[in-house]
Subunit: 487 residues, 2 copies
């Protein structure tokens, strides 16, 4: 019954909303039935439905329908209902033609970056990812916090949450940042759906849609900027040639005049590079001289021991630096919880961006993460995580040193989940990828991360995801294939 | 200790990544210290930190630091650490100047729409909202489902979720839509952060950024379109003058040539209007003739009994019609769970929009809502909700009929949470709002929802949020103030 499309009509009763006379109801329905070119056989709403909508007694509506039948406008079919009178036998309205599809943008073509030969069902060894081993993440303890939030009714699920995010969580985040010397107040923080939404909210708030970022860049961020019609420029970064080429950057900044620099100042994705204090100082000076804002992405924080010693740009450059980070990788990816830190001047625009794009983010998750922090579980978790990831990082460096042929180079980030492995130019990256795929070892190239022709020739290597034996085996096999390529 | 900013430097060791000789390490650090114009007094990373980063023994690093001290480049301060040698007493680097703030768009000015005199702490009677009474929402039952999802580990929280949304939930949604005659397959559905993100994803996917919608429109959607630089046009809707003015709409569509029509075809916000079958048919024909896509917003479904009889545009116009709906209001607002339905041709672009804006939405919530549907809790909840809201709707119509002075009109939606109350033009809406505010009754005007000068003069009235005594009192007081205005 429910999926029978009834006829929908709107009664312009003489005195809108008020109880109509039977006569008004009849004339109004008759007018609607005649007014539109309706296919005969349309089914009328049952008496109880119309009575409910109009706040009338069923008798009133029944009397009106009776009169319409008497006039021959509608006909009754036993145990089925009332229909627009017609010779046809059809019970429902004739199906209409299909409407036009909306015209959507074509997806930009992307270079193929990995092999199609990987057997994903057989749990391949993935060397190029960015995430942390799920086995190391505190699923059970988080579940306990969520249960407690639900049991103690810490938040009201039945109300719309604060668009800026759960206040108590923002307070905790501010405290943690302050401990690292990063200025942040709860009122300056906006929670987000992971780092990706941080980028999105900033894009939308920007008055001047010109952004510069590292080349190579965080590639999903780059794609987001492009989707948001940002004019994006790349500032070349080469960890094997002194990092930031200060003269070239200043030349580019002077030419491009970006409104914002989006920088991953520590453990950059994909290079693993961290800015030196001297470089950070120059960027702060330029911001002052050329008037651009800065968005600092601290994605790689808190994964290895001692990784927090590198000073944040916001710690040195003040609270005009927009700062972003996320619990996604370090806590649980499926929670999708990140945050942005602005200041009195910038935060309102970020809240507005968020509020208009999604109204607010799921409160129950923010409350459970608050609980997780408040119980001290996060600090305990990080300590265990560091111990485990430190080992994997050291293993990674050891295996690279033992197995990689002459001419192969790599960064030593000391934080974040990835390093960059640079391979001599005469080795074909795609040949290496294809041959490893046959052993079900997955690598991909990072062409998407570059602006134009890549000036690095190698792979992103993740030491945080794989169990040590898999990491070792993957790297050894990779070394073997590089050796083979180099002949 | 942790918030002392150490000096960050990057060692270009001769053979990157490999174990350097002590000499290489010394020269590299010395080069970094001299290379950048660093403030004297900068603190060097402790031995253990550098050893960890570079994968070296502490002895190696200590020997290098000893040599740098011997050369007079760095100096040791007892129990504090190593510092760049300098006459100054300061322990950390001098604070840098504040960087520039990013230039953000100014917030568009908005007309004041309600009174500043409302005492929000005293639980005012809010007559103009859109949400459902939190007392009627199944917080406890949802919590039980969430607990069960966590206990039975139905999903893996430690992995990134499918960007399209939890498959089993999409399957349930498709089944429910099919029961109402709306074509939908799980593969065509994308979960979202409420209705608002549905609009956002569609905006981003559009190749042709011209959209037409009702005037008055869903005003937060209107603001979102404007933030997304959509060229937005209003198609006049007047529920008291036949609803859709078909000739005017066709004239406007022919002139504007929109790429998309965004329509709330049932229980429109803010008017409560539902399109008649004849109007829907004409829109389908126009889509065919003028080549625009359609986005149908079914926000007001499932709130009152019998409200599902009105046919969906997607049921009549085929699966090129993009369809959106949300569990937000009907289940629990804080979950922020909505969905979009496309087809084989359009869904990939929507998934891409979502994936680039937020990567994915929180899986644990989608799994708990699946559980809620799967246990049949949602149907039981809707039955109870209908019984309660039906009463409030009937009460609302009754009080309006009994109390409103001559000349006041209202729509009778029979679904959704709101109706439109139209007041004679000589009554000042703002005077009414201000006088009710003194009784702590809240109403607001809907100027934001209109394109240009409003052609309706009245208020959105919500019958779903207030307990019956409050609803009755609020409406009676409103009637009194309108009467007073009309003299």
């Amino acid at each position: 019954m429910r999926n029978q499309p009834y006829l929908s009509f709107n009664l312009s009763l003489g005195n809108s909303g008020r109880r109509p006379s039977a006569e008004q109801l009849i004339e109004s329905i008759a007018g609607q039935l005649r007014g539109h070119s309706l296919a005969p056989g349309c089914r009328l709403p049952p008496v109880r439905v119309l009575a409910h909508q109009l706040g009338l007694s069923k008798n009133t509506v029944q009397r009106a329908y009776d009169e319409l039948m008497a006039r021959g406008l509608v006909e009754s079919r036993k145990r089925v209902g009332l229909f627009l009178a017609a010779p046809q036998k059809e019970v429902v309205a004739a199906p209409r033609k299909q409407v036009s599809a909306p015209a959507f943008k074509a997806e930009p073509p992307r270079p193929v970056s990995t092999s199609s030969k990987v057997n994903w069902a057989e749990r391949p060894i993935v060397l190029s990812g960015v995430s942390i081993d799920p086995e190391l993440l505190p699923t059970e303890k988080f579940a306990a916090c969520m249960r407690s939030v639900l049991k103690d009714r810490i938040v009201n699920l039945a109300e719309y949450p604060d668009a800026q995010g759960f206040f108590h969580l923002r307070k905790k985040i501010a405290q943690r940042l302050n401990r690292r010397g990063i200025p942040a107040r709860p009122e300056e923080i906006v929670t987000t759906l992971g780092s990706q939404q941080c980028l999105d909210l900033v894009c939308r708030a920007l008055a001047d849609k010109k952004v510069a970022t590292e080349n190579p860049a965080y590639h999903v961020g780059k794609a987001l900027f492009e989707m948001n019609d940002i004019e994006l420029a790349g500032l070349p970064l080469n960890p094997f040639q002194g990092g930031v080429d200060l003269e070239e950057w200043e030349r580019l900044i002077r030419r491009i005049r970006p409104g914002l620099l989006y920088l991953v100042t520590r453990f950059q994705n994909p290079t693993g590079y961290s800015y030196s204090t001297g470089e950070l100082n120059r960027i702060i000076d330029w911001s002052h001289d050329y008037g651009f804002g800065i968005l600092e992405d601290d994605w790689g924080s808190e994964m290895l021991s001692f990784s927090e010693f590198r000073p944040a740009l916001r710690a040195r450059g003040g609270d005009n630096v927009l700062y972003m980070n996320s619990f996604t990788k370090k806590l649980l990816p499926s929670l999708r919880l990140g945050y942005l830190v602005g200041n009195e001047q910038t935060t309102p625009a970020l809240v507005r961006s968020k509020s208009l794009s999604v109204l607010s983010t799921p409160l129950v998750i923010e409350a459970a993460v608050f609980e997780f922090l408040d119980r001290g579980y996060y600090d305990v978790h990080l300590k265990q995580l560091h111990a485990e990831l430190d080992q994997r990082y050291q293993l990674c460096l050891k295996v690279l040193r033992q197995t990689m042929p002459e001419g192969v180079k790599w960064t030593t980030p000391g934080g974040g989940p990835v390093l960059w492995l640079e391979v001599p130019g005469r080795a074909s990256l795609h040949a290496i990828i294809e041959r490893l795929a046959r052993k079900n070892i997955v690598l991909w190239t990072c062409e998407w991360a570059f602006f134009g022709k890549p000036h690095l020739h190698g792979f992103r290597i993740n030491y945080a995801r794989l169990a040590p034996p898999d990491l070792q085996r993957g790297l050894e096999e990779l070394a073997g294939e590089i050796r083979r390529e180099l002949g």
